[in-house]
Symmetry: C2
Subunit: 205 residues, 2 copies
């Protein structure tokens, strides 16, 4: 159960395992194996067993993994047993899609505040949210202690937004803008980029 | 230059290398190294050299990689030197965001047709596109020989859309709906799922 020095690439696979387990659970399944998970994910069974072994013993030789138990343990390891509040910056088409996205429920995240810098949007509603002025990012996010943010603004505004989020105390940023942003040490950024996925598939066409 | 049996995980990293190179090129840089790329990507320099060695010799010991040349070679390997037409299914918020997305330009993909099943949307415009009836997916995509599609529909409609795309001859599908879809052998699916990225970062919070 020692959690030091887990390679980041191992951490990066845990959400994939958790998602595969939740699909199996949704099919009514109760037990799975590293072989089955591996086939679903295109990862070797040995790799999966090795990854999980960093965190403890989750399966029994010959009987496999209890899906509910392993899911709970992965959620605990990933710190998503409770919901993190998420600040969304950008109330455009993508912001609308994210506010209405079905996929966050029960996965550890909940959009709880929405910002935009467009005077025509500020004060209007997006779903259940009132769109707040991006000028207030620092005060509102800091007040509420929000650590996670999603950036869904045009590329030329992304760095400025990220800077404000960092000053507000945000530690994890999911960036949809197709540019790399600079952040200080201790702040994480992940990118959502459809091109990466499309190019990977193009290789096989 | 033998291209058989390249591990899929290696193929999956090539778009990341290409993106990092394009960011460096945008900064006016002409030469880089496996060390620098590795630092930007959180991948070891040795891994990058090993990945690239599957495809040939791209750098010189001591002088590093010519950014323009390596980018061209990666584009050639990934088959994105010319643009693939992409069919977009789903003209909701996400579909709007994708049609207006800045990130596809010059990356090998161009949305060229948009479908939706909502009678109130069919026949209307989305950007420069007329939204077409999802009922016509099979005929139109097959006629035009489109091999790549993006699915941006609600989860309960995703499998049906994917089935139609597969019948139309689509070989590569990028799925934004938060469910796994079934496809026959020979058809690739990649998923865009913000939860995977958020959970990975939550581990470090």
């Amino acid at each position: 159960m020692v959690s030091k020095a887990i390679p980041d690439i191992v951490v990066g696979r845990l959400p994939l395992y958790l998602r595969a387990l939740s699909f199996l659970a949704a099919e009514g399944r109760q037990v799975t194996s590293s072989q089955e998970l591996g086939q679903k994910l295109g990862i070797s069974a040995a790799q999966i067993r090795k990854d999980l072994s960093h965190f403890g013993e989750f399966g029994k030789q010959g009987t496999g993994y209890d899906i509910k138990y392993l899911s709970e343990q992965l959620r605990r390891i990933l710190k998503v047993t409770e919901e993190h509040e998420v600040a969304l910056v950008g109330a455009g088409d993508l912001g609308h899609a994210l506010v209405h996205y079905d996929g966050f429920a029960g996965k550890g995240f909940r959009i709880s505040v929405v910002f935009d810098n467009n005077p025509q949007k500020i004060g209007r509603r997006l779903g259940t949210f009132e769109i707040l002025d991006s000028e207030s990012i620092e005060t509102i996010i800091a007040d509420r202690g929000i650590e996670v943010a999603i950036v869904a603004v045009p590329p030329n505004a992304a760095q400025e937004v990220v800077d404000a989020l960092v000053r507000a105390g945000v530690k994890a940023i999911l960036n949809y803008a197709p540019i790399t942003v600079k952040v200080p040490e201790g702040v994480q950024v992940q990118y959502i980029d459809p091109v990466i996925h499309l190019q990977r598939m193009a290789y096989y066409l």
